[in-house]
Symmetry: C2
Subunit: 345 residues, 2 copies
Amino acid sequence: MANRAPEIHGILLVGGKGERFWPLSTPERPKQFLRIFSDKTMVAETVDRISSLIPPERIHFVLPPHLVDILKEEILGTTERNLIIEPEARNTAPAIALAARALNAEPDSVMTVLPADHLISPRETFLSDLKAAASLAQDGYLVTFGVPPDRPETGYGYIEIDRNKPLRDRGFKVTRFREKPDRRTAGRYLKSGNYLWNSGMFVWRVDVITEAFRMHHTEIYKSLLAPGTTDPTKESYARLEGISIDYAIMEKAGNTAVLPARFRWDDVGSWTALERHLEPSLDKNVNIGKLITRDSEGCIAIAEDGEIALFGVRDLVVVKTKDKVLVCVKDRAAEIKKLLSTRDP
Amino acid sequence: MANRAPEIHGILLVGGKGERFWPLSTPERPKQFLRIFSDKTMVAETVDRISSLIPPERIHFVLPPHLVDILKEEILGTTERNLIIEPEARNTAPAIALAARALNAEPDSVMTVLPADHLISPRETFLSDLKAAASLAQDGYLVTFGVPPDRPETGYGYIEIDRNKPLRDRGFKVTRFREKPDRRTAGRYLKSGNYLWNSGMFVWRVDVITEAFRMHHTEIYKSLLAPGTTDPTKESYARLEGISIDYAIMEKAGNTAVLPARFRWDDVGSWTALERHLEPSLDKNVNIGKLITRDSEGCIAIAEDGEIALFGVRDLVVVKTKDKVLVCVKDRAAEIKKLLSTRDP
């Protein structure tokens, strides 16, 4: 790399409503605090993944107050200095602005923004890519990790690149951010080779993202980032637009770059994602916990405790916690929040 | 009635493997000990139903040793004198022979054999029919309650009668016992009006059933009913043929009669029977316990505790106990024992 190794801060986004993996996830224990794929929570895996590159004092958790206790339980050694409290959930743009505000004494340090609930491997490849992204970030780019698609996924946004215009360190300038496509468009993106999944993981200098807010989202800038602003109150923060960083900044900024990921990535966005990570039985059921089946296939069965028995059914998601059971047809597993909206408050 | 009111003994069959309503029912708490339709167990409902006609000292429970404790818990006041212990489960013929053996000091008293897991109402109508059946039994008939069918049920045996040859007290001689029919035959039976469901409830004199065993099942007679026999051991009882009373006696005997039931009867033979007894929601789901649904219909959801959530599914049986969940397509709910046979012992 041309520059000296940058000072990197890890910004872990730990918010979340706990709806996608309901009933295993709950508002009190959202997905990033589940142990689905290993005996560690996903947030602990995220910390472990970066810890050889980023020391504990430069790892920051952005999270709402009600998750502070569980975070401290799960990530031993976490102190108040590691915490960036979101007064309430207002989507990623305000959360990231809070992090930039917290780091404003180090304007030329690099911050890498990482959701705490993604599956990533191998670690070494990720860290190598992260260093490359940080190097691009030092040049003044707002860098996104772009994941080469392996299926016509309609659940992700895409990033279009021009492979004829590479940047250094394997990066590309972003041609355009694309919203979640329909199936046909997703197929075209997959074939073209010029579209990458928007992973929701970002790397940039503190001063560069601050300036981007100033240019592209004045409201958040004035409230959280302009010189002389005071710490947000619950009320002032609640008044901010609940907007994603993609909409607020990335789709508008001219200095966006993307680094094609060489690591494996999965945001594990719904129960059906588990089929990509669990070994299927002969009848194509996958399970965590105890399962008995007869004449059943293509099911995803998750028993937090006890036992699930399937008889004569197919393509279902069945999840059992101590007190709740979800039975959901697989192709609607991404819409669980619609089901939850029918519950009594 | 022409005869004096007979001395009636109630013989309640309390055995059962607990498979049909698994996982709510278990070998340790079979269906007759569940509280599904009221706040009382089905065996308690059965006792209540006959208690105005049959005093406690003439109510006898035929059951295996491992159900004695739960019976005593659920039916307060039960003493050893009320118990007829089956050394092990050998179907209804040996169980009924055990009961006849226990009552052999009163050869001309009437015994009414009642499974303890049927739904019957109203009570007054049942008792009135029971008195009529007892009166027929005093005449020397082996009397079965026959239930007028209201659907072409393939899950029951049928009893053919000749309506032109009535006995007194609304009874008929049995023309023939018919095994479980196929759908088409069941439809024909339903139309004809001369076929009644075999309810599995019987009324006869002790001496008459004893003589029937002597004539039609010598093995059981010699082992349990012949003069001078000793109490069965676990080993001697286990050697008996595990045969139903229908096969062993009723289909062979010439003195069989049937009383068409005026009461409502349901043997609640599988989860789907619940649809006949529970009030459906607008989307035709029925439930016991807490249920939330979206875009789901025709399901039977039973939550012993906690909550069941259904999303985008139809025609399923979903049952949740504290530690187990069953998800079964409705039209195979009667075959749960096949599912259980796949479990580890």
